[in-house]
Amino acid sequence: MKSQEGMTIIVKTVTRISVWLIFVYGIYIIFHGHLTPGGGFGGGVIIALGFLNVFLAYGKEYIKKWLNIGLLHDLEATSAILFVGIGIIGIAMTGGFLANFLSKGTLFRLFSAGTIPLLNILIGAKVGVALFLVVWSLSLFHIDEGGEQ
């Protein structure tokens, strides 16, 4: 299969600048999940779109060099395990799965709301990586024309 070269220099240049802004915005949405609209899922989707932006602009080969896909797989699984782990600590500390066991802090401060920001970060990592990996896996998938039936 012919390797993809990506898009034109204009797109590449714009992407090179804008992708970091997209990442920062995604991280902002994740970290302020307990204060403003959005949260782990929404921010995660934005981060995944940042990755996809690079993927579309620069092509598959560049992504292979730029990202360690194996590490992303591990990050995805680890964040899910940590999420369940926080839930289990909740059982151990207060008796309910995912129950809050940290100080709730002051309302509207960044470091507040107990375990919710932690869970948002883990969901953000999971969603951000997983959505990108779904598209990545689909791009690796070759359709075998004329299969068995």
Partner: protein, 491 residues
């Protein structure tokens, strides 16, 4: 509290498999087997220690209107035992079976998600949570159906995904209407409010009946099942036929139509008609099949018809028959799918016309499939006989002679198409140069274990055992909206 662990353990196992597995499948087999065995033991403890009571588990420590609750009553514990039993034997069966497709960890990870989803569906007391867990189980099931990677498997999985999505959409619309009418997603709260609004109850009931009817593969909604169940790898076929259509279909129908809606007569009549149609039409379709797994898949639709018919009659005896048939069908249908899988692994075909005289080369498969056949056809002293007998007696007692006749004819047709399997697969004069050594120990153990259960589980009807095991489940269903008091009262 034991119930959340039935969701936590398989999820954790699935993610641990994803994280640590590399080329070989040893780690994934170890983790999933340990998880499954632990859950099997826990589920039996959970069922035995319940003693007919109802416990509520509030997630994240909030109180009921604001939280998702898990409900541990006889019915949910009963379903959890069935799920763990079949998933454990399927996992043992998978170890050898899946290696002839691939040695990837992905299978075991998906398998754990499937179990987590089903456990979640049967243990939750919140309708939207139920929807989420249902989708987890279904997405795992779509992927597992296409696991073999051949064109017809993708086609079956795609068909399953399309029809599954349509039904999920209907269910989601139903949940939306319910929420707008009752302002609550907790099943017990919905059960308090909804019966006072009969117009909405009819709308929601129809949406849920069609939505979950598709999951349960009741007759007019069955189109996805024969393809999906025959294309999936054998242990997954047994999971789908044995437990998935019951956990996602029949269990939810029971929970919603009995415990939440209070068994409205109009729906009970529909249950009976659809059940009777499923029994007869699926039996005739099964007789014409030459693909062994496809025949078994049609047989599943027919047996689900028996369960639905009994639920529709909704006398205490009929519900006992339905509950017992849910259990029995899970066991013998899984066993028969294992048999089909081991034949496919030994001689590489599912076509009955290409088989023959396998009884001499595959003795374990032959003997266990004979037990499975006699059970599913309802011959004494196997477990299927008792549940079918109860259902037929309940039909007669309630005055539904036509339905009793249909059930008897369905039972005879079942015997007919399974005799066809026995005749073409195991008897005849063909010679195959294979031996049962090609089938692994785990596969043989899974088949023998379920065959043993087919023989012995008839004892559950001995009065002392019935009173402690089956009667609490029947009471949970029969007492209908007692569920509201039990759930909201045990806060």
């Amino acid at each position: 509290m034991i119930l959340p662990y039935f969701i936590i353990i398989p999820l954790l196992a699935a993610f641990l498999i994803t994280l640590f597995s590399r080329e070989k499948d040893y780690w994934s087999i170890t983790v999933s087997t340990i998880a499954s065995a632990t859950m099997l033991v826990l589920s039996i403890v959970c069922f035995i220690t319940l003693k007919g009571e109802t416990f509520i588990y509030n997630l994240s420590g909030w109180k009921i209107p604001f939280t998702i609750c898990l409900v541990r009553d006889s019915l949910s514990c009963f379903m959890i035992v069935i799920i763990q039993l079949i998933s454990f034997t399927s996992l043992l069966f998978s170890v050898n079976y899946i290696r002839h497709i691939s040695s990837s960890w992905k299978y075991y990870s998906l398998f754990m998600f499937l179990v987590a989803g089903m456990n979640g569906v049967v243990s939750t007391g919140d309708i939207f949570n139920l929807f989420v867990f249902m989708e987890i189980a279904l997405f795992a099931a779509y992927a597992l159906v296409s696991y073999g990677g051949k064109a017809f498997e993708f086609e079956a999985a795609f068909k399953y995904a399309v029809i599954g999505s349509i039904s999920s959409t209907l269910i989601l619309v139903g949940i939306g209407i319910t929420y707008s009418a009752t302002s609550s997603l907790t099943l017990a709260h919905i059960a308090q409010v909804l019966p006072q609004k009969p117009d909405i109850l009819v709308w929601v009931g129809v949406l849920f009946l069609v939505g979950f009817g598709i999951k349960a593969a009741i007759m007019p909604f069955h189109a996805w099942l024969p393809d999906a169940h025959s294309s999936a790898p054998a242990p997954i076929s047994s999971m789908l036929s044995g437990v998935l259509i019951k956990a996602l279909g029949i269990y939810v129908l029971i929970r919603l139509f009995f415990n939440v809606f209070g068994a409205p007569p109009v729906f009970m009549n529909i249950f009976m008609v659809l059940g009777a149609a499923s029994i007869i039409i699926a039996s005739f379709l099964a007789i014409g099949q030459w693909d062994m797994k496809r025949l078994l898949a049609y047989s599943s639709i027919s047996q689900i018809g028996f369960i639905l018919l009994a639920l529709g009659i909704s006398t205490k005896l009929a519900i006992l028959g339905a509950v017992f048939h849910i259990f029995n069908h899970a066991i013998f249908k899984s066993l028969l799918f294992y048999n089909a899988g081991s034949i496919e692994m030994a001689i590489g075909t599912r076509d009955l016309r290409e088989m023959g005289n396998l009884k001499s080369v595959l003795p374990v498969t032959y003997s266990t499939s004979l037990i499975g056949t006699l059970s599913v056809s309802g011959l004494p002293p196997f477990n299927g006989f008792f549940s079918k007998l109860i259902i037929i007696v309940a039909c007669v007692q309630a005055g539904y002679i036509t339905y009793a006749t249909i059930a008897i004819i369905g039972s005879l047709l079942t015997l007919a198409y399974f005799l066809k399997v026995q005749r073409y697969a195991f008897h005849g004069d063909k010679l195959f140069d294979v031996s049962e050594k090609s089938i692994g120990g785990g596969m043989k153990f899974a088949m023998l274990f379920l065959a043993l259960l087919c023989v012995v589980t008839g004892v559950l009807l001995i009065p002392a055992l019935r009173q402690s095991m089956l009667d609490p489940i029947v009471d949970t269903i029969f007492n209908k909206t007692e569920y509201i008091k039990l759930v909201l009262g045990s806060l």
